[in-house]
């Protein structure tokens, strides 16, 4: 082992946590993983229902209604993203950004939620969105079917908490994800809820040994929750542009710390 490695994860986790030895996974994880699947199934049911209404509004040419339904519909998707994005074809079809395509927004291949978002906000129109809406509903329905048939890999579930916070850090705090509608705070909430759920489900398994860790994680979750609450409006959130620079910084620090901390969860549960 070189000195360079000591700045990396392995040695640091030795010094900064009390457990020097890798944990072994136990069958105590069966119940939380099963409960998580039930949680995901309920979110999927809501996603299909909401996407049906959202795409119907798009197809009816009702721009105002479609705009109003866009962010709430995405909420369920964002909460279950660690599982939803296991299917690469559907992840691309449902949630890819213009950057993934050679001609960006002008690329005829650009699909899904963000293609519709682009039309609704940038063009203020539902023109040409009918087929995109049909495809989105078909893809979301297919996603629901595939996930219901999926045996959830425990390391993806537990690792999902960190993945969600990394997702927030990389795409929501910057306002990159919903760049046309600026509804990023809704997605943020979905990611936050999804990550928190995972921590809640595994909490009983680690609370005896990892009290200090959970205290830090809870404090950061609370910090994020408090700031998000300031921007609540009706059932959702104000536009991302209203987020103050100070709050953005506090969120960024808390979310990055959460991402780092939660990335040790797999190891703590013997899933590395």
């Amino acid at each position: 082992m070189t000195i360079k490695h000591l700045f990396g994860a392995t040695a640091l986790s030795f010094f900064l946590t009390t457990s020097a030895f890798a944990e072994s996974a136990t069958l105590d994880l069966v119940e939380p993983i099963a409960e998580y699947k039930i949680y995901v199934s309920e979110k999927l049911e809501k996603l299909v229902e909401d996407t049906t209404a959202f795409t119907a509004a798009v197809k009816a040419g009702d721009v105002a209604k479609a705009k109003a339904l866009f962010a709430p519909t995405r909420l369920s998707y964002e909460a279950i993203e660690p599982i939803a994005e296991l299917f690469s074809d559907l992840d691309v079809a449902i949630d890819s950004r213009a950057d993934d395509y050679e001609k960006a927004e002008a690329d005829p291949e650009f699909p899904g939620f963000h293609r519709i978002e682009y039309g609704l906000w940038e063009k203020n129109s539902t023109a040409e969105l009918g087929p995109v809406a049909d495809k989105l509903l078909a893809d979301v329905t297919e996603l629901s079917k595939r996930i219901n048939d999926l045996t959830f890999p425990p390391e993806k579930v537990v690792g999902g908490a960190a993945v969600l916070m990394e997702e927030v850090a990389a795409t929501k705090i910057s306002g990159e994800e919903d760049r046309y509608s600026h509804t990023d705070l809704w997605d943020f909430r979905g990611n936050f809820d999804g990550a928190y759920k995972i921590v809640e489900l595994v909490r009983p398994l680690i609370e005896k040994k990892e009290g200090a860790f959970l205290k830090t994680v809870d404090a950061n979750f609370a910090k994020v929750d408090t700031i998000l609450a300031k921007y609540k409006e009706g059932d959702g959130y104000v536009t991302y542009e209203k987020l103050t620079e100070d709050d953005r910084k506090v969120l960024s620090t808390a979310v990055n710390t959460l991402a780092e901390d939660l990335s040790t969860l797999r190891g703590k549960l013997g899933l590395d």
Binding site: A9, T10, A11, A22, L27, K37, D100, T151, G159
Partner: protein
């Protein structure tokens, strides 16, 4: 602290490095050596660098041994990118949101096989990752670690939960039809309510007290049908099919609803171990072969074929959750078990949904034989995957 699965953006690494240096300074050389030798944290394995440019991955073809491997992904394109290892459409591992000019590290424990790698723009050609068997991956084939069973057991737990909820709901419908005096509706509801019960019978039959209240046949009681203790599904069946009436069945239906509700709660508390997925199915197949198929359980309505199909569905659910492990360990065992299910299903389909009264002894014998063969094959599973 970042685990092997997390991206380390340079901006986030810095404070950690400082903290690490401080910790090291305090800890001193002896402890440092101890940590290096014994910390069983995630190792990185061999490190491979993959550069993604505007046109794809460089290199575009990689061969690595199974086990822990680290990929350093360098984004040399001008777009934020996502790097993925794909097995068909399924993402095995991925690193998202790598900004132009940045690098990200991904450590994964890979199993042998051939995978695709996604390389930037969706229109770019995909690369190939070949993972060759290693000594440890060969050893894990026939003796998977305990954590390999968490997914299957969780999935089976979800299945039991869904079926027991359906059982409560469908039994309530049966009670409602009985109370409405709807004989035909009650008969249909009877057949329907038994299906979820039969799908989970291989585990619920372990809860003896409730099974004896929910599903006993009259032959178990001294005075048979006239015995005051005769209750449960078959008491209701006796009323609906032999006495052709819903009269007097309401108390039995209410008791049955209470018992299946209790069963649902007890199943939620039940803790299954990996061996159970195969052994409970094998035990169920034997019970069918030796008793239920020759004699029939529904002596008044003769709806047994529907029961058997539901039994088979439930057994196949638990056993099929082990297929990914068996296929790797002993492909011949996997094939034999799958064939066993297909043959048994074919034998059932041949009888259609006939009244079991009309199914003759020779056909019952064939069906019994199919369940016996199936049981024998399922019984080889646990040895094949290193559990016995």
């Amino acid at each position: 602290m970042s685990n092997p699965g997390s991206a380390t953006r340079p901006s986030r690494l810095m404070p950690l490095a400082v903290a690490g240096a401080a910790a090291l300074a305090v800890a001193g050389g002896t402890l440092f050596y101890y940590a290096a030798k014994t910390a069983k944290g995630p190792e990185k394995g061999a490190v491979y660098t993959v550069t993604v440019n505007a046109k794809g991955c460089e290199p575009n073809t990689l061969t690595v041994p199974a086990g822990r491997t680290t990929f350093e992904i360098v984004n040399a394109s001008d777009r934020t990118l996502e790097w993925e290892i794909l097995d068909g459409v399924m993402v095995v591992e991925e690193r998202e949101n790598i900004a132009p000019g940045f690098r990200s590290s991904l450590t994964a424990k890979l199993n042998p096989g051939t995978f695709e790698i996604a390389c930037g723009l969706l229109s770019n050609p995909r690369g190939t990752l070949t993972v060759t068997p290693s000594a440890s991956s060969e050893a894990e084939k026939t003796k998977p670690p305990l954590k390999a069973f968490i997914g299957p057991l969780s999935e089976y737990r979800v299945y039991i939960g869904l079926q027991s909820s359906a059982l409560v709901k469908d039994t309530q419908k049966l009670a409602d039809a009985i109370k409405a005096g709807d004989l035909n509706g009650a008969r249909l509801a009877y057949v329907a309510a038994r299906l979820p019960y039969k799908r989970i019978e291989s585990v619920s039959s372990r809860i003896a007290d409730l099974e004896n209240r929910i599903d006993p046949v009259a032959a178990y009681f001294e005075k048979r049908e006239d015995d005051p203790g005769f209750a449960g599904f078959h008491r209701i069946e006796y009323g609906l099919y032999s006495l052709n009436s819903t009269d007097g069945l309401a108390p039995f239906a209410d008791a049955l609803v209470a018992d299946v509700t209790a069963l649902k709660a007890r199943l939620k508390e039940m803790k299954l171990v990996p061996e159970d997925l195969a052994t409970s199915a094998a035990r169920q197949a034997r019970r069918l072969a030796e008793d239920t198929v020759p004699n029939g359980d529904n002596r008044y309505g003769f709806t047994d074929l529907a029961d058997f199909t539901a039994n088979l569905d439930g057994m196949e659910k638990s056993v099929s959750l082990l297929y990914p492990l068996i296929e790797v360990a002993k492909p011949d065992v996997a094939k034999a078990v799958k064939d066993g299910f297909a043959d048994t299903r074919a034998a059932l389909v041949m009888s259609g949904n006939a009244s079991y009264q009309t199914v003759d002894t020779a056909t019952r014998k064939k069906l019994s034989a199919a369940f016996t063969t199936l049981a024998e094959r399922i019984e080889t599973i646990n040895t094949a995957i290193g559990m016995e």
